[in-house]
Symmetry: none
Subunit: 235 residues, 2 copies
DNA sequence: GCAAACTGTAAAGCTTGTGTAAAGGCGATA
DNA sequence: TATCGCCTTTACACAAGCTTTACAGTTTGC
């Protein structure tokens, strides 16, 4: 069972090959391990197989077994978060899905921002309720103490006032301490979108982070890798 | 996707003659071999012809077959990196979102700088990360320790301060230790462009590398192959 | 042995990435 | 609707580092 805050493993069940290809590419790009099944039957058996999934994206209309059936059978034994995908925009589907135990619902067509927003919301929900997923570990690297459970950061025992984005950037850097983290990765994982040319927002978040950290502790703890990204320096 | 990626041959598919002329001139000037098709149908058949392309610049709005159709049909058999050209706004979400299958997109009108930035980003994605998700191994050859994940090099346990380009040159040499590596290869893989006549930049990067390495360890670890390139000497 | 071609490298020049303040924008909140 | 917080964009100065230039040294071919 994963103890990580962010998703590691996602199962996509949808008969639309084009869509699953796309989702696979996109989610892989965000660093997730993705598995795809193109009908309900195969999807269900994969979902209840030994392999652990942190999230299941489930289409409603599919051959062999529709999404509601899959969800119902899945819930007999698993509490894996499920995000339903449906072309039908009416509320009936929505209510039915949620009553059966879906965690959220996303009408097709949707764009990546919506998807990311939903995924994040689900992950957050599961993280806060200790029952569902894993417990995130506190991190302590180079005098920086980061506690995901309380969304709090202390440097030399002095609390920092970070925004959520700054918090997530710092957390990503800490999870990859002493390893290069590209701006592309930061953008995908923290902001949920690909990095655009001449996009400076990551630079700004890092700049703000540095400012807040160095106001409390001397020395730059974040190394710039020119043309690549950033790296949190180890002790 | 191919692990070996050297950008030298580009296909431009766009019905705007003025633009394709400009692109052709410009990219040729950078040393790329450029082919142009002015409608989707011709573009697609060229793209899936026997000729290999390293990158395709693809306009969205075109006669006969639009860019999305071309991309979709192309993807059935090819994984060639595609950079979509599109008017800002309209297609932005469509491309960024779930119909993605392109490697990147570039809103028109764009300038040279932007185009170059995109091409570089694609090159970097293919060279630096060596194929999405695959973890690159640490290398230890002839007292040189190179760690891609931390973008760090140590010689006799002393850390070197290398630029990203120097790092990539050294990495290429180490991956091909005791084998000749031509300047042409270095230019393509590290700089992402073909080597041009009288171009001395590779020589300079190697020279700088030697300087930094020999400041820490005696003896020249990089052998010059006159008229060909360089080679990292084994123990 | 000599010219031509190639290489090493210091230094200059120039391009491009980065840091950061400030303005702008946008969604959430009251 | 007005306000607030925060993310993003803009603008500009600066610095890193890539490329070019220049010249000296070296190798090759004849």
């Amino acid at each position: 069972m994963s103890k990580e805050f962010h998703l590691q493993s996602v199962l996509v069940i949808d008969d639309d090959i084009e869509l699953t290809d796309m989702l696979s590419t996109y989610l892989s790009g965000m660093g997730y391990s993705v598995n795809v099944k193109n009908d309900g039957e195969a999807g269900l058996s994969e979902a209840i197989s030994g392999h652990h999934y942190d999230l299941i994206l489930l289409d409603v209309m599919m051959p062999k077994m529709d999404g509601f059936d899959v969800l119902q059978k899945l819930r007999a034994s698993h509490t894996t978060p499920v995000l339903m995908l449906t072309a039908r925009g009416d509320d009936y589907d929505r209510i039915l899905g949620l009553e059966l135990g879906a965690d959220d619902y996303l009408p097709k067509p949707f764009n990546h921002r919506e998807l990311v927003a939903r995924i994040k919301a689900i992950v957050r929900r599961y993280t806060l309720s200790a029952g569902g997923g894993g417990i995130e570990q506190d991190l302590l690297i180079n005098d920086i103490f980061l506690s995901p459970s309380s969304q709090q950061v202390k440097v030399n025992d002095i609390a920092l006032e970070l925004t959520t984005t700054e918090f997530m950037v710092l957390r990503l850097l800490m999870l990859n301490a002493a390893q290069r983290v590209t701006k592309e990765q930061i953008s995908l994982k923290v902001l949920g979108k690909p990095l655009q040319a001449f996009d400076r927002s990551i630079d700004m978040h890092v700049s703000n982070l540095r400012k807040k950290i160095s106001a409390v502790a001397p020395g730059d703890k974040i190394k710039t890798l020119r043309g690549v990204g950033y790296m949190l320096l180890p002790e």
